[in-house]
């Protein structure tokens, strides 16, 4: 069935555009320059659009997704692949505006000789079409250029950032991690899942950010932990000793890390935990600590200790040879 959409009144055209999914709108924009202009005008009038662009530049995955405002639902709208991967015998490759393209599983793949150029091109295309900024960025160690590129192309900072470890490479990426820690700014999530060497250190400040996740956090010292400005902190493969955690609790009691709500430390090796330092005035409690972490599950801690800040705010603490938790009772105290 055919439908001459350009013969419909403006109200109808606008209503149809507003019902399109983001991937459908991007694909439709490749129909003609005129149609792209109509779509762009539509999205420019519809500000603020509750969509967020997310860029992925990870190994062979170079794509742009659109997420809803809550970041729960994401869908790929365009992707770029190296021209060497074209298989015209198997795939239907069509040239549009001088670019080789292929429609695959509800979005358009655009083939580029230069992968960096391709990534930049699809991000620019989608963000211009929808008149939105890039809010999410997920990269591998080879794509740290994207941090600087995004910082320069828009005023609004990222909301979600992730540095992901390679699939088949366990070598260290000290330089990339260092670049990320020094340059990546993100308001909601800063996550780093990359290998670094045993002697790697970073003592700069991190944050402010809502959630900080360091999966390979053996490099995190007590001093660096005190420099993190985050609401939720997760440190995996930690080499912090119980004495470091005592020092951190002392810092927290004195008013340090004031925005912290949740800290989870997973030890790389079994920690030897017997008791907390006496000067912390930490006491055993039957209370159960709960915290709804951003990644979904409700964390529950039992057999807790209670520790109080000098301003009266309390926190529940739990520690065994594998994990340390601190859940600050901001609301309970104020009630």
């Amino acid at each position: 069935m055919l439908f001459p959409i350009l013969c419909t009144p403006f109200v109808v055209l606008s209503e149809v555009f507003s019902l399109l999914e983001s991937n459908e709108a991007v694909t439709a924009s490749f129909c003609s320059k005129n149609f792209k202009r109509l779509l762009r005008n539509h999205y420019q009038r519809r500000t603020p659009l509750m969509w967020q662009a997310c860029m992925v530049d990870y190994e062979n995955s170079r794509q742009v997704s659109i997420a809803n405002s809550g970041y729960e639902k994401k869908g790929i709208v365009s992707s770029t692949v190296h021209v060497s991967k074209i298989n015209e015998a198997l795939n239907e490759v069509v040239e549009i505006n001088g670019y080789k393209t292929e429609f695959w599983s509800e979005f358009l793949i655009i083939y580029f000789e230069d992968q960096v150029l391709g990534s930049k091109w699809i991000v620019d295309y989608v963000t211009t079409l929808f008149n939105i900024d890039v809010r999410g960025l997920a990269i591998d160690r080879c794509s740290t250029w994207a941090i600087d590129w995004i910082n320069k192309r828009q005023e609004k900072p990222l909301s979600h950032f992730g540095l992901l470890k390679p699939t088949n490479d366990v070598s260290n990426a000290d330089e990339s991690v260092d670049y990320v820690l020094k340059n990546a700014r993100s308001s909601e999530l800063l996550g780093i899942d990359e290998y670094v060497s045993d002697n790697y250190r970073f003592n700069g400040k991190l944050g402010p950010v809502k959630e900080l996740c360091l999966w390979h956090g053996h490099w995190v010292t007590c001093d660096s932990l005190m420099n993190f400005d985050a609401i939720e902190i997760y440190i995996g493969r930690s080499r912090l000793a119980v004495s470091d955690l005592n020092s951190f609790l002392r810092h927290w009691r004195a008013g340090g890390s004031p925005r912290l709500h949740y800290l989870e430390v997973r030890f790389e090796n079994k920690a030897v935990f017997e008791n907390f330092d006496e000067d912390l005035e930490i006491v055993r409690t039957n209370e159960v600590g709960t915290y709804p972490v951003s990644y979904g599950e409700l964390v529950v801690i039992r057999s807790c200790y209670s520790v109080q800040r000098l301003d009266g705010i309390r926190a529940l603490v739990s520690c065994d040879h594998r994990r340390f938790y601190l859940i600050v009772q901001h609301e309970k105290t104020s009630n």
Binding site: F3, C7, T8, E15, L19, E21, S32, N34
Partner: protein, 188 residues
């Protein structure tokens, strides 16, 4: 010619029928209006059903017709085909006094008439039906490539757009030259 509980259609204005009886509430006579499309077939529709159309509702409010006047003066919609108007009337009758559910099963199914239906519904300002129709239009391109979308939605290619633009410019140029020549002739 179809006949529904709330309305009937005929070549001439039909006799008003009484509204469905209600066991509890006292019977309130329902007012009816009459509309016809390009085919001049008159459809009798209750005021309640016509409330879906902002255009007709506005006309009714402004005219303040009595039952007799309404019968003698059907609203003419010469730009709407008879079968399309019938679909719209049926839908309005089915949804009299109630909002459209998100998955409405009582909606016009004749997809080949979708374009005419969209134009009619837009003209009659029936918001809920327009949204449904537009959903159907949007669904047409789900999972389609740019070439397929271009074909389904009959979008001209860049080359066709350029050719049309050139043609329009040429025509405008000719018209302007004609007007200049005519003006020069008038001046002589």
């Amino acid at each position: 010619m179809s006949s529904t509980e709330q309305g009937t259609s005929s070549a001439a204005p039909a006799e008003p029928t009484t509204a469905p009886e209600s066991a509890a509430a006292p019977e309130v006579p329902e007012s009816f209006y009459y509309v016809h499309g390009k085919d001049k077939v008159v459809h009798k529709v209750s005021a309640g059903a016509l409330q879906h159309s902002a255009l007709i509702h506005g006309m009714i409010s402004n005219l303040g017709y009595t039952e007799e006047q309404a019968k003698a003066n059907p609203f003419p919609f010469e730009n709407i085909d008879g079968d399309i108007l019938q679909m719209v009337v049926d839908w309005c009758n089915q949804h009299k006094g109630k909002p459209t559910p998100p998955e409405d099963t009582n909606l016009p199914k004749q997809k080949e008439k979708l374009f005419d239906l969209v134009l009619a519904v837009n003209y009659l300002e029936i918001k809920e039906l327009l949204t449904y129709c537009c959903k159907q239009v949007a669904m047409m391109v789900k999972g389609k490539s740019p070439e397929e979308i271009r074909e389904i939605w009959m979008i001209p290619t860049d080359a066709e757009d350029e050719a049309a633009e050139k043609e329009a410019k040429k025509r405008a140029g000719k018209e302007a030259a004609g007007e200049t020549a005519a003006a020069a002739g008038d001046a002589k």
